[in-house]
C-alpha cells in the first residue's frame, strides 16, 4: 500500500469506529421524550463528564487554530492557556444550584432557567437568539477545520467543501440517532485518544525538526527575539497591546462558563459532586493544550509556508516524511476534535432554538415526540446554515468567533443574578442583557468609539451589571422564596 492509502485507511477506520460507538447507546434503550434526548436522563458519571468536557475544549480551534496562532502570532496564543486556568471556576458554585433547580423544574437549557425565575418570555427569546447566532460561526469553524485536514491529506484532491460536507454528514447521523448519550460516549473515546496523541506528536515533531523541544525554542528565540513572549502579534503582524491581551483573557474567563453548551452540563450531570469534581479537574486540561502550542511553534522556522496559518499542522505533517500511520492518527484526531465539538454545538443550538425560542418564548406547545422531531429538524437547519457560512465566508472566521464571545459573556450577570441574587427582577435582567448586548455590538462595529483598546465584551459586561442592579432596585421583586429553597445557599 502506498503512503496516502495508509493515511486514508487509518482515518476511515477511525471514523467508522466513531460512528459505531456513537450509535451504540441507542440500542440500550432510554427515554424517548425530549428531556431524555437532550439531557441524557441526568445519568452521566464523573469519567464520562471529564472526557466530554475535555473533548469539547479539544475543538478544531485547539487542534488547528491554536497551533495556527502560535505559528503566526507567537505569545498571543498563550491567552488560550491563561483563560482556561480560571474560566470554569464560577461553575463550581453556579453548576450545583442550577442542577438542583433543573431536577425540580425539568430544565435542560440555561435560558429556560433564567426565563422561568422571572417568568419572562422576552428573556428566553433574546437568550435563544444570541445563543444560536453565536453557535453558527463556531460550528462553521469546526467544519472548515475538517475541510482543511482532508484537503491537506489528499493533496487537494478532496476539496475543502466536499471534505467538510462528508465529515459533517457523519456527525449529523449520530446526533440525530442518539442525542446526548451518543455525544457522551463518542466524546469519552475521542477525549482519551486526543489527549494521548497531542503529547505524542507535540514531542515528536520538534524532535524530528530541531532535535528536541528545548533546542527548538532556543533557535526561535535566536531568529525572532520577542516572538515567544506575550502579548505577541495581532492577526496583521503588528505587536498586540497588553490591554488587548489582558481584556481578551478576562472576558473569556468571565464568559466561558456561560457558553450554553457548557452550562447545559449542569443539567446532564449525575449529581452535584460530579459537577464540582469536573470543575476541580478542569485546569488539568491545560497540560494537554501545551503540546498543541509546541506543534504550532515547530512550524515557525520551517521553510515552506502554508497558504493560511490555520493549515500549519496538516501542512507540516504532509510535507515531512513522517510515518503515514502517525499522520493518519493525527488527522483522525483533528477530525475527531472538530466532530466532537461540532456535535455538542449543533445539539445545544437546536435544543435552545426549539425549547427557548419556539416553546418558551414563542408559546408553541408541541407533544413530547413532536418536540423531539422539531429539535432534529433544527439540528439539520443549523448544520446547513453553518455549512453555507463555512464554504462561502471569505474573511476570518476567528473574527466572527470573537464577535460571538462578547454576547455570550453578557449572559454572566443574568445567570448569576438568577441563581444568587434574591433582589433581582425580570425587568432588571432584561434591561441588563439588552444594554450589554447593544454596547458590545456597537463597539464591535465602531471600535474607534472605545475609550481604551479593551475587548468590547468587557464594556458591555460592566454596563450590563450596572443596569441590572439599578433597574432591579427600581422595580418590585417577586416572591422567590421557593426558588431559593430549591437552589440552596452555598453547598
Amino acid at each position: 500500500m502506498d503512503r496516502d492509502t495508509v493515511v486514508l485507511a487509518v482515518v476511515g477506520a477511525y471514523l467508522a469506529v466513531n460512528l459505531a460507538v456513537g450509535l451504540w447507546p441507542q440500542r440500550k434503550g432510554g427515554s424517548s421524550d425530549a428531556a431524555g434526548y437532550v439531557a441524557g436522563d441526568r445519568s452521566l458519571g464523573l469519567l464520562v463528564m471529564y472526557f466530554i468536557t475535555g473533548a469539547t475544549i479539544f475543538s478544531a480551534f485547539a487542534f488547528l487554530g491554536m497551533p495556527g496562532w502560535a505559528y503566526a502570532r507567537g505569545g498571543a496564543a498563550y491567552y488560550v492557556l491563561a483563560y482556561g486556568v480560571l474560566g470554569f471556576v464560577p461553575f463550581y458554585f453556579l453548576g450545583p444550584r442550577a442542577a438542583r433547580l433543573g431536577r425540580v423544574h425539568g430544565f435542560v437549557t440555561q435560558a429556560e432557567m433564567v426565563a422561568h425565575r422571572f417568568d419572562s418570555r422576552a428573556i428566553a427569546g433574546i437568550m435563544a437568539f444570541v445563543s444560536v447566532a453565536a453557535f453558527v460561526p463556531y460550528l462553521a469553524i469546526q467544519m472548515q477545520g475538517a475541510g482543511y485536514v482532508l484537503s491537506a491529506l489528499t493533496h487537494g484532491e478532496i476539496p475543502e467543501e466536499v471534505g467538510a460536507g462528508a465529515v459533517y454528514l457523519v456527525v449529523l447521523i449520530y446526533v440525530l440517532k442518539s442525542g446526548v448519550l451518543g455525544v457522551g460516549w463518542t466524546n469519552t473515546l475521542q477525549g482519551l485518544f486526543m489527549m494521548g496523541l497531542a503529547w505524542g506528536i507535540g514531542l515528536y515533531l520538534p524532535h524530528v525538526l530541531y532535535g528536541g523541544v528545548g533546542e527548538m525554542f532556543r533557535r526561535i528565540e535566536e531568529m525572532r527575539p520577542g516572538f515567544l513572549t506575550a502579548p505577541g502579534l495581532t492577526a496583521g503582524g503588528e505587536p498586540w497591546s497588553w490591554a488587548g491581551y489582558s481584556s481578551a483573557v478576562l472576558v473569556s474567563i468571565v464568559g466561558f462558563s456561560f457558553w450554553p453548551h457548557l452550562f447545559m452540563k449542569a443539567f446532564t450531570a449525575k449529581d452535584d459532586r460530579t459537577i464540582r469534581r469536573t470543575v476541580v479537574l478542569y485546569p488539568t486540561f491545560q497540560i494537554f493544550l501545551l503540546p498543541l502550542l509546541i506543534i504550532g511553534f515547530s512550524g515557525v522556522l520551517f521553510e515552506l509556508a502554508p497558504a493560511r496559518a490555520d493549515q500549519i499542522v496538516p501542512h507540516l505533517l504532509v510535507n515531512l516524511e513522517l510515518s503515514p500511520f502517525l499522520v493518519g492518527l493525527f488527522c483522525a484526531g483533528a477530525l475527531a476534535a472538530s466532530m466532537s465539538s461540532g456535535d455538542a454545538m449543533a445539539h445545544a443550538a437546536a435544543s435552545i432554538a426549539v425549547r427557548d425560542g419556539l416553546v418558551t418564548s414563542g408559546g408553541l406547545r408541541p407533544a413530547p415526540s413532536g418536540e423531539r422531531n422539531l429539535i432534529r429538524a433544527v439540528v439539520v437547519l443549523v448544520m446547513v446554515a453553518s455549512y453555507v457560512l463555512a464554504v462561502t465566508y471569505e474573511g476570518s472566521l476567528v473574527g466572527l468567533l470573537l464577535l460571538a464571545y462578547g454576547p455570550v459573556t453578557q449572559f454572566a450577570p443574568a445567570v448569576v443574578a438568577t441563581l444568587c441574587w434574591r433582589r433581582a427582577t425580570g425587568p432588571g435582567v432584561l434591561a441588563g442583557l439588552l444594554a450589554g448586548a447593544a454596547v458590545n455590538l456597537v463597539l464591535y462595529l465602531c471600535p474607534e468609539w472605545k475609550p481604551w483598546p479593551l475587548h468590547e465584551g468587557l464594556y458591555g459586561l460592566v454596563l450590563n451589571a450596572i443596569v441590572l442592579i439599578a433597574v432591579s432596585r427600581a422595580t418590585a421583586p417577586r416572591d422567590d422564596r421557593a426558588w431559593f429553597e430549591v437552589a440552596g445557599n452555598g453547598r
Binding site: A82, G84, L86, V89, L228, T229
Partner: protein, 69 residues
C-alpha cells in the same frame, strides 16, 4: 463568610492578576530561564493551571469535610 471562601477569593484575584497585565507582564513574561526546554512565559500559564487545580482540590476537600461534620 467562612475562612476558606475568603482564601479562595483571594487566590482567584491574585491568580487573575498573574495571568494578565501587570502580574504576568512584570514577573512571568520572559523567555529565559527555559524550564524543561520550555520558555518561562509559556510554562508560567501551565504552572498556574496546576496551582488552581491544587487550590480547588483543597477547597473541595474542606467543603466535603464540613458537610460530614
Amino acid at each position: 463568610m467562612r475562612r476558606k471562601d475568603v482564601a479562595l477569593i483571594a487566590y482567584v484575584v491574585v491568580c487573575a492578576l498573574m495571568l494578565v497585565w501587570p502580574g504576568y507582564a512584570l514577573l512571568g513574561n520572559r523567555v529565559r530561564p527555559f524550564v524543561l526546554g520550555i520558555p518561562l512565559a509559556l510554562l508560567w500559564n501551565v504552572a498556574w493551571a496546576v496551582a488552581t487545580f491544587l487550590v480547588l482540590l483543597a477547597y473541595d476537600r474542606a467543603g466535603a469535610r464540613a458537610e460530614r461534620e
